[in-house]
């Protein structure tokens, strides 16, 4: 990766469009998250880790592909921080930089069942593919 941690941190902040320093570390996002148990780095860490420039750790995190984008954390955050946006911005960095898809098209047929709506496939590609 060509960019250093500080540049990445700045890029992520510009992608989300708010100041993650508004976070007061109350943990409401993690408390509210329906996928918390599946995550290695919990949502409330994202704001401070982005501020501190600990992006490499975030890039490796399982959390990026466990977030449901349900916006519950965005809705309930008392400080107008939007954790889901931070997670998505980091995920975008991974997808854009690696060029690799978390979900490869070859793997899709095995995951389909006749009832699965189109929307789920589209969404998964958007979230995980380049």
């Amino acid at each position: 990766m060509s960019m250093n941690q500080k540049e990445l941190s700045e890029q992520i902040i510009s992608m989300v469009g708010f100041n993650p320093r508004q976070c007061m570390k109350c943990g409401k996002c993690s408390a509210t998250c329906p996928a918390l148990e599946e995550m290695d780095i919990h949502p409330h860490h994202f704001a401070s880790m982005v501020c501190e420039g600990r992006i490499n750790e975030l890039l490796e995190s399982k959390t990026l592909f466990r977030c449901l984008s349900c916006f519950a954390c965005v809705e309930r955050c008392p400080r107008s921080v939007e954790p889901a946006k931070l997670i998505e911005a980091v995920r975008d960095c991974v997808i854009r930089a690696k060029g690799a898809n978390f979900l490869s098209p070859d793997a899709v047929p095995g995951k389909l069942d006749p009832e699965l709506p189109q929307q789920a496939i589209t969404a998964a590609f958007r979230k995980y593919g380049k």
């Binding site: 508004q22 109350c26 993690s30």
Partner: protein, 662 residues
């Protein structure tokens, strides 16, 4: 033409070392109006002042310029000197050649040149000075307190004890406010009623205090020392003088469907009611929106059972007009709306309550007679969860950006009281930070943790929901362990943010007192004038100014009282003579000045003017010099240049600009 004397001070070597004072004296001698100039080592000394007095007499001076230190230092001194010599104190101007010159410049020529220019500017200004007379206004020796909670009661008692008349206006049917609803108080755990009710009675019986309960301030006119206030005394439909407070009517009233506000609507009250047993005045009131007599014309049971004949269905609202010298705002607070935070299921589940509701549940006079019960099934709880910062420190649309300050302490209090009385109940507190600055406060909180085994968990609650066991599940996170917590509990208590009482905006606009973005009243200075509002004669007491607990409220109430007493002790108020004044011939009555005045000091009159022989009635701006503080906003806003400021007139400042840019 003025006869001006210029006095150049050496200030020892402070000025003289950098500024050639003799050269300054020589340079100003030719200035217009100057008929005397002299330098001296210490102009502010006894001898220096005498030198000025002698010169005034000898040279028949009408104005003087002192080139010395900052006017913030010695302007008052030299004004007194001038007065002693028999000239108007406002004929003195100071050229600041110390702080603004000798102390910051090193080059003597440069500093001397600047000192001369500053002296010239002051001379130019004093040439245009006019004698000013500070106005005087009388002081009505009576104070008004708006709000009858602990803040209002304490202020009233302190003012009354100092010998002045005080009226308390309280919009509910009794004084006592929020403190009357509390069970115990931190950090000593004494009973709120035990310490409050004696004060309520004292206020009611004090010969200098008049209570207007069930009353509201309608309008406020006037200014410091002379407020004209209209108070609306709402109809109680009960004769206050006849009612004995026997409460028979309240038990017989058949209309019992509506909630009892004093118990946070956890139980019901009759349409005729006394808010609580120790209410002051202990007089019933009929809620006409619920009373069957008012709704259907029938019933009238209360009238039948009242042996004193106090029920008066035909009672009308009454307007009382009174004059006051000072007003104390003590309107207090209310609990903010927690229904917007329905992830906690407050609107859906009766076992999710606010802390104030818990106070009533814990109180022996409350809906459960002081027994801790789940409101859903009236069973004894096994677990109880407290959630801190519900709506506090929240900068989104549904919250308040400030810390409500009292929640950490009252939650520790609740936790301890519950553990003390019911050792079998597990108490969990979800917090973001525990904030306990205050005497014996942190010790109090630590006692909850160490001696009462209260389970403090750092982290917020995300969601509360009813589970299949008929209990509540609290979905949260333990931030220190960085793990999910799913806690089963019987009750959830929300520490809701506090906010200024509804209606405080109306009160503030009536008083032209300013409020901040959170509707708290603004103090005149955050550090040095914390109990005064920027509007003269209006003082602040209690939570209306910002979140605070009972000890702080009582201290502030006392402080506000002292300020009021200090004001009422004066027979006359001296007003600042540097006030705005309109030129009647130039004023076109456009209201621009009125709109920018922060003190409401400008109004308009229809007045006949003689405009170069043409007589006509015009709408003219009028400045109330007792209210005007002399900021000058209106002088610049005035499109016709009619408004000017005494002491800092357009011509005076222009003359200074001219002198400096010569």
């Amino acid at each position: 033409m003025q006869r001006i004397g210029v006095f150049v001070c050496w200030c020892g070597s402070n000025i003289a070392a950098t500024v050639d004072v003799a050269k300054v004296v020589e340079s100003v001698k030719g200035e217009p109006g100057v008929c005397f100039a002299q330098d001296y080592q210490y102009m502010c000394s006894e001898a220096g002042q005498q030198l000025i007095i002698n010169a005034i007499h000898e040279h028949k001076l009408t104005g003087i310029v002192v080139c010395s230190c900052s006017p913030r230092m010695h302007e008052a001194t030299f004004r007194k000197t001038a007065e002693k010599a028999g000239i108007n104190p406002y004929m003195v101007e100071i050229a600041n050649i110390r702080e603004h010159c000798s102390w910051i410049h090193k080059d003597k020529d440069e500093a001397t040149e600047k000192a001369v220019i500053l002296a010239r500017a002051a001379i130019a200004k004093v040439n245009l000075n006019a004698p000013l007379q500070p106005g005087e206004s009388a002081v009505t020796k009576r104070a008004l307190i708006i709000g009858g909670g602990i803040a209002g009661i304490q202020s009233a008692l302190d003012i009354a004890d100092a010998g002045y008349k005080v009226d308390i206006v309280e919009r509910s049917a009794t004084i006592g406010g929020k403190m009357a609803q509390l069970d115990k108080t931190f950090p000593t755990l004494d009973c709120a009623a035990c310490i409050l009710t004696p004060k309520m009675v004292e206020a009611a019986q004090h010969p200098n205090i008049t209570l207007y309960t069930y009353s509201e301030v309608e309008s406020v006119k006037g200014f410091v020392g002379n407020f004209d206030v209209k108070i609306k005394k709402k109809a109680r439909f009960v004769d206050e003088n006849k009612c004995t407070g026997c409460a028979v009517c309240t038990t017989k009233c058949p209309s019992r469907k509506g909630g009892n506000e004093f118990n946070c609507n956890l139980d019901n009250r009759g349409a005729v009611y006394i808010p609580f047993a120790q209410a002051v005045p202990n007089v019933a009131v009929i809620d006409s929106t619920r009373c069957l007599h008012f709704k259907t014309g029938k019933c009238g049971l209360c009238e039948k059972v009242c042996s004193a004949g106090a029920i008066k269905f035909d009672q009308q609202d009454e307007i009382i007009e009174e004059k006051y010298g000072a007003i104390v705002v003590a309107t207090g607070f209310q609990i903010s709306d927690v229904t917007k935070f329905d992830e906690f299921q407050y609107t859906k589940h009766p076992d999710v309550i606010t802390s104030l509701e818990l106070e009533r549940i814990m109180n022996a006079a409350g809906p459960t007679k002081g027994t801790l019960l789940r409101m859903s099934n009236k069973e004894h709880p096994k677990d109880i969860v407290f959630v801190q910062c519900v709506g506090s420190r929240d900068n989104t649309a549904r919250g308040k950006c400030y810390c409500s300050k009292i929640c950490c302490m009252y939650t520790a209090k609740h936790a301890m009281l519950i553990r003390e009385k019911y050792p079998d109940v597990n108490v969990h507190v979800f917090y973001i930070d525990v904030r306990t600055p205050g005497k014996n406060f942190d010790e109090f909180y630590r006692r909850a943790v160490e001696q009462y085994n209260v389970d403090y968990i750092k982290g917020m609650v995300g969601k509360v929901y009813e589970n299949e066991n008929g209990r509540l599940t609290v979905q949260a996170v333990d931030l220190l362990a960085d793990r999910r917590i799913m806690l089963e509990t019987d009750m959830v208590v929300l520490a809701a943010a506090i906010e200024p009482s509804s209606g405080v905006k109306d009160i503030a606009s009536m008083l032209t007192a300013s409020i901040d973005t959170n509707n708290f009243l603004t103090e005149a200075h955050p550090k040095l004038r914390p109990v005064e509002s920027p509007t003269a004669g209006v003082f602040l007491s209690g939570v209306c100014q910002g979140p605070k607990d009972i000890p702080e409220t009582v201290s502030q109430a006392g402080a506000a009282a002292v300020k009021v007493v200090g004001l009422l002790a004066k027979d006359k108020l001296v007003t600042n003579p540097c006030t705005a004044t309109p030129n009647e011939l130039m004023c076109n009555g456009c209201s621009s000045c009125e709109r920018v005045c922060p003190y409401g000091a400008i109004d308009y009159v229809e007045k006949e003017v003689n405009d170069h022989g043409k007589r006509e009635v015009r709408r003219l701006a009028r400045v109330n010099s007792a209210l005007c503080q002399g900021c000058g906003a209106c002088t610049v806003a005035c499109p016709s240049g009619a408004m000017d400021l005494k002491g800092f007139s357009n011509r005076q400042i222009m003359a200074e600009v001219d002198a400096i840019c010569k």
